[in-house]
Amino acid sequence: MLKKLLITTTAALALTAGNAFAEDIDIVFVGKNTGNPYFDSLTQGFVDACEVIACNFEFVAPATAEATSQIPFLEAQIQRGVDVIAISPNSPDALNQVFDSAREKGIIVLTVNGDITGNEEHRDATILPTDFTKVGADQIEMVGSLIGYEGEVAILSATTEAPDQNFWIEGMNETIANDPKYANMTLVATVYGDDQPEKSTTEMEALLANFPDLKGVIAPTTVGIAAAAQVVQSRGIADQVKVTGLGLPSEMRDFVKDGTVDGFQLWSPYNEGWLASHFAVGLKNGSMTNEVGATFEVPNLGTITINEGNSINTQSALTTFNADNIDDFDF
């Protein structure tokens, strides 16, 4: 009730004050640590958005990604009186107290690219790259399109306990078992390279030795896909075995250029920054509401829905990188 009142008042204010009000919105993004190309791309999304819509943006980050290293930076932003704090949290719980004091001051707290799972009540909303429930299906479609929806497929994952990867692999298994489109494809093995280049290489070579008819390999981890591509490249078997999965464009560029890898997927961190700034400004000027089920339009991304737990996904499906677009991404 109070929230609604607040929102209508802000909306009224925004209407009367017009653009001058919007220009006052200060957004700061607190990164995990400095010198991380993934976050450079995310930050660029904020920067570009704030050139289009009226907001002031600043990026700060600690030198190391320890659980508590972001706290002084958060305290400083509270003291500066910013309007919105976006943060990729280094800890799921050590920041609760600081988040609370920021929100007491009326600052909107958005977690970006990672959430404080289990402590969601300490932030206003979270912006995550994509809907993780669809990653498995997307990856099966990707490998299917590369091998003509026929033949043996294997998975080269991270560690046996990696929660995200295991969730995606579960989705892959379900998709291949239930969707008639993939009836002619069989998942022959799931192996684990522990996100170490050497172990991933060994596991990939073992896959090739054990399954001579292997048509495709999905490596839903950046280390795994790079190692698998390396093996295929050095053996010169890119025509027989298609490697795909989740990778970083910066690491995969050479493999795509020389034809070792036709395509792979990931989300776009840039879009997270782009969406976060639009959402933040929208919340502040009253044109958007932070309620589950609410929708709003973001240029280039279309209609965005606020899901359960005030969670927002920047893209409904993964971005596919191939020879045509890989040069557009630099993370």
Partner: protein, 327 residues
Amino acid sequence: MTDTTPTREMAPARPTWHVVLVRPETMTLLLIIIGLVGASILSPFFLDASYIMRSFTLTAEMSIVALVLTMVIISGEIDLSPAANMALSACVFAWVQDAGVALPLAVIVGLLAGLAMGALNAFMSIRMQLPSIIVTIGTLIFFRGLAQIIAGDRSIRVPESFVGINAVMVFGVPLPVVIFVLCAIVLGLVLGTTVIGRQIYQIGTNQQAALHAGINAKRIKVGLFLLLGVVSAAAGMMAASRLGSVRYDLVLGGELQMVLMAMLGGTYIFGGRGTILGTFLAAWLLVIVSTGMTVANLLPAIQLTVLGILLIVAIIATNFIYARTQR
């Protein structure tokens, strides 16, 4: 006997103003003033007593430990394990508390864990006569390892009733700051006015001479290690209360910051010189400098560079001042 060159006995006594002002603490105080002015110029949001005190609470635990560490360094020893002790004590505390032990009892268990860690350091450094720098590098790694075994790679929550020591205000001052000031006063009096305090300086200046003078150097040093262990444990639990959870990497690398505080305050790394006042001022100096740069949104790289320069300046100045005053 009329025209000989003056010997040391004949050198004129230093004037009072010289004794009072030409000392490392003066330099620390000057740096604080420069820091305050500089930070105020850097950011209009800086000069706000409540913000500076709130920022101080983020390092108050380490600052408290640094006060005791100063005494250990003056006595001629060093301890690099207090930060790891903080983490392990806090993990032990959170772990037994999570297992169902009553909160007050869990605090006592945490303090005992810290005492045991202090005892281990004392046993190896004093009883076995091993160099304390090597011993405590070893225990620093050992304590972190144990903490990681206990807590794993996840955080242990502490109960809501225990959370928020930094939100408790005493006349508008956060409780951790009050505790720090009280500790500084008590330890400053002990070191500056008591017999034990004088003995600590004597041991650090010349242990052999101190032994011949009948000072029980071993007992005093063991006492200091034990005190440091307990205080570290208390500080670890204060950090747990502030953060609401405990991880094995709590105040990771904090030992360097503690030594830095002592050095910036004019404590001589080889013992015999230094004051609690110096460390007290240095703790504030570090907070003012780093807070000023953080609120101005300066990059961490610049912050590290400035802190490095600060330390070098402090060491050169301290040595220069000690050389001038001949102690």
